[in-house]
């Protein structure tokens, strides 16, 4: 009797595991991107993602099959981030743009006519700059900007993920983009990239 029941329970566990894998696989890349943009650090993003997956596995029974798994996973990751990184986060210091400027000048001199290379390098540089600048934006604003402008979520999906009204999503987006813009404007002005701010 005991053998049968243990066989049944391991079979149930197997089914549960398979269901879990099926549900989460499509969202892994998006989840990693979210983790990476929140932490700006590959190692931290890796830890964050792994811990979130383990939590999701543990609480998989509380997830209602057929509902929005993506929002559920993103919410777990967001909460894990808030628990872990708010306490240990370094002071959001100013990004050292002098290093970035110097680097850009170097590659500009060395690749005289390689416009594609320059565009690719500059593009990656900008990506890194934006990722770093996002670190200076408080997490509640950073989250909505990432989810909307990088993940392409709708306000409703963001509201579902974050657990706030749609109106709050809108106001946090407005504020978050403004904070990011302020952070980037020093670099942008030196590159003539964004129009002058008032």
């Amino acid at each position: 009797m005991a053998i049968i029941s243990s066989q049944l329970s391991s079979q149930a566990e197997s089914v549960r595991h398979h269901d879990f894998e099926t549900e989460i696989r499509p969202h892994l890349t998006a989840l990693y991107n979210y983790a990476f943009r929140m932490t700006a650090n590959e190692e931290d993003a890796e830890d964050l993602l792994q811990e979130s997956l383990l939590k999701a596995y543990r609480f998989f029974d509380s997830f209602e099959r057929g509902t929005n798994c993506k929002a559920w996973l993103f919410r777990i990751l967001k909460n894990t981030f808030i628990n872990q990184y708010r306490k240990t986060a370094k002071e959001p210091g100013k990004v050292d743009y002098d290093d970035i400027k110097e680097f850009y000048n170097t590659i500009k001199v060395e690749s005289a006519d390689a416009n594609d290379l320059e565009e690719e390098l500059f593009g990656n540089l900008l990506d890194d700059t934006i990722t770093s600048a996002l670190q200076s934006v408080p997490p509640e604003f950073r989250t909505v900007v990432i989810l909307c402008d990088l993940q392409g979520m709708t306000y409703e999906e963001i509201a579902d993920t974050v657990g706030c009204p749609v109106g709050t999503v809108r106001s946090r987006l407005h504020r978050g983009r403004k904070l990011l813009k302020d952070e980037l404007s020093e670099y942008a002005k030196s590159r003539g990239f964004l129009s002058e701010a008032i």
Binding site: E13, S14, H17, F20, E21, R25, L28, T29, A30, Y32, N33, F36, R37, E42, E46, L49, Q50, E51, L53, L54, K55, Y57, R58, F59, N83, G123, L126, D127, I130, T131, V145, C148, D149, L150, Y155, R170, S171, L173, H174, R177, K178, L180, K181, L184, L194, S195, A197, I198
Partner: protein
């Protein structure tokens, strides 16, 4: 067709919605009319649009690093390891109070209170 006139405060509330294409045609028209006449709000709108474009144009989706992909695949194909790791994760985080454990605490408290009441009543009965 006349669109309604907005003041700056009303326009500010609509700017983010316009950037994310969430405005009705009427509101869109009203906002555009205001932006034509108001350089401050126009600049605010332009800036917010630029930030959104910057992000969507220059922040590419990153691939999961191979090392991490390998770790995740290993976990997903090993139910026992996954179950053990996720169980120990919760044991090690004392602040992870689940709703279930809170419910258990309340239930235990209720049971204890009931026992005490019964003991009290029993002792009163025997003493009388």
């Amino acid at each position: 067709m006349n669109s309604r006139t907005l003041n700056c405060r009303e326009a500010q509330d609509l700017i983010t919605l316009q950037v994310d294409h969430r405005l009705s045609d009427d509101d869109c028209l009203a906002l555009q009319n205001h932006l034509h006449k108001c350089p401050l709000c126009e600049n605010e709108y332009k800036t917010e649009m630029e930030v959104k474009e910057l992000l969507s144009k220059h922040c590419k989706s990153v691939k999961i690093p191979d090392k991490l992909n390998y770790k995740i695949t290993e976990l997903l194909t090993n139910p026992e390891k996954m179950a053990n790791l996720s169980a120990s994760l919760l044991e090690n985080s004392p602040k992870a109070i689940t709703t279930q454990s809170v419910f258990d605490k309340k239930r235990n408290l209720a049971a204890l209170t009931l026992c005490l009441i019964l003991i009290f009543l029993a002792s009163v009965y025997f003493l009388v």
